[in-house]
Subunit: 222 residues, 4 copies
């Protein structure tokens, strides 16, 4: 029951403001009930209120490569930590960043005692990310994101290939996978392929009943 | 006493997390005591907690040109509004954006009932911004930002020229000025030059005593 | 016969390398035969060889906001001038830039004795661009670019509105229009609406016979 | 005598337009006289004329992640190839790109039969780049670029560490180093540390006599 479920709230209507708090509470309830390791990843402006409302970990969706100073409008790592985030996604397919920024972001998160999850799009970029030594790499083939077609079913070779490549380059780096994942069977399959969890979003957030969708998902852990 | 004082918190150590709340409370106290119109502009992740702590208006430092959807890591206008912001800076010199993004940002803020402040760097870009019809244009010669040398003293002709140009293009647009402003005399001079207030940051945030600095500033309103 | 026809080569297969030279020669022949003012706007790496092959003016598609120095991979204004360009597009819908960069680009082109054409997407951004004082503003509603539906037929009020707004803000600025333009009647209509010419691309470049398409276009000048 | 000398022309006055051609001819003469493998890397708009003037290989400073189509102002890989480039730098410290763009750039260059040189800033990013399988990785500690202090003297452990890391991840990838290199002894030291050549710029371009500087550099090959 150590598998990780990272729920990216993105910037959907169903996961903004009060609805972000409600969704995080649903995650919190499911985690408490089932023992699942669920991480909530809300927008920057929702981190603080979500953090106040739940016991599960809260991560940021991104951090900028800035330090204390004159960087109006940037996302300071120290600020999302102060708001309660204990980790961050980096290089999500909707927020790709430069190689050097991924490297410095990983280092900065480590200094702050925060967990880093680097998103990648194929085996090659997964190998590259592994070379930087983050805590997690999350492989998400972009063509399947939001598709409803699970990467674990459609591209198992990309996942197992990523797991193998990462183990060869840096065995301390753990692998997640994402894109099209929403059901327990997708999670189960992802774990069978050697990952340590999943990164998902619309499959839960846009579900008619988010709580039911979460319960269906974590059923894949058994 | 209608002049506007917009305090950009930037991402300084002295204005992040709990210190952002403390600074906003100082602004709130000075506003209550003196009747000054002060606006707090904290980081995205501090908007909610600052908003909960004060009665003065809270603005965002920036918004991204995105709508509800798959935009991980972006700053959704609806999200900063949900956190309590009632306006936003746009195109700050430390977060320059594209012309078409300034235009769509102004329109979006208007739809959301929020106030727009477009930052510019010279008379020409001030004229351009005025053509887009925002609520405010804030002229800040970049070479004076953070310099301690007040734009109102060093470049009065840029301010008065901006005021004139804006009035000619769109008299509904109000003009602020910024860069190097920290003292009451700077604010007084800015108002004499035809602006309706100031945008400032380090002069207050990095002051030994922020409260004293704020009181010295608003003394310029008398 | 003073109307301007600006042909943006974009980066199509049909307008790259030797084909860029052939297309520019077709423009040159039509210009020589009909007296039309045609400007060729090839890719950076084709400017020099196009310039060597024709007598019509050659413009760049974009310039970066850099000066002589360590800016590897940037498009130095002085370099495109050295290659033979006598003007440049700026802020094309496929290469939007920041407001301050448009301003400094216009100033740089003027210093270099080159012509500036600022692309815009609606009346508001056209007004903004006019405030910066370029040589030309080219209004192109993005939804019609490459559509085959002429802006002059589909949105005449956007064009005439832009012409009026520009005249009010800075009468020295001339107005072009673009998007969906390919035929003589489109050009004729654009001129009737008060523009001084057109900016076009795929209607000519992707035509079965580029020379025939050009001749059909310039027929609209009569 | 197989070591590679890659001369990045950047966008200096001394390496633009006719001066780019003159500099490339100096490289060509030195290559012919000494047998050194020198590659000229001029600006996009100079590639064609430089290519026409010399026999040594000519590379681009950067390519954009675009294909034939509507990408005004972008640097199409096929276009720099049509102009005569047979390789390209990617991710130079002055033109950092996203991880996914480095990956697709390497693939695109390979499809076009062109050589890829990925610039990196430390051992971690060098490992990451090696994971993507380019032809070359060029490690350049950013703090030494343009400093006149040779990386080979100041940070030999970064170079040898990079060489070792790359060999472990992908032994087909060759390593270059750069930053502060201008003299024959710098080149000699770089080769001793296990690299297969150097990437350099200002040390040659800004030299009082470029030809003399080139001859001094290649003396390090003996």
């Amino acid at each position: 029951m150590d598998a990780l479920i990272v729920l990216n709230f993105k910037v959907y209507d169903e996961s903004t403001g009060e609805k972000a708090v409600a969704l995080a509470k649903a995650c919190d309830a499911v985690a408490a009930e089932t023992g699942a390791n669920i991480i909530a990843v809300p927008q920057f402006s929702d981190i603080y209120r979500v953090r106040q409302a739940v016991r599960i970990p809260v991560y940021a969706q991104h951090i900028d490569d800035v330090k204390f100073g004159g960087y109006t409008g940037s996302v300071l790592p120290e600020a999302v930590k102060a708001a309660g985030a204990t980790g961050s996604l980096l290089n999500h397919s909707e927020k790709r960043i430069k190689l050097a920024e991924i490297d410095s972001g990983i280092q900065k998160l480590r200094i702050l005692g925060m967990t880093s999850i680097i998103c990648t799009n194929n085996i090659a970029t997964t190998m590259a990310a592994a070379g930087l030594g983050p805590d997690y790499v999350a492989i998400e083939p972009p063509e399947l994101i939001g598709s409803g077609i699970s990467v674990a079913q459609a591209k198992p070779e990309v996942i197992s290939g990523s797991v193998e490549a990462v183990k060869r380059i840096n065995p301390k780096v753990r692998v997640l996978c994402g894109a099209g994942i929403s059901k327990g069977e997708d999670l189960k399959k992802a774990l069978e392929l050697g990952t340590e969890g999943v990164l998902l979003a619309s499959g839960i957030i846009k579900a008619k009943d988010q709580m039911t969708a979460l319960l269906d998902l974590v059923a894949g852990l058994k």
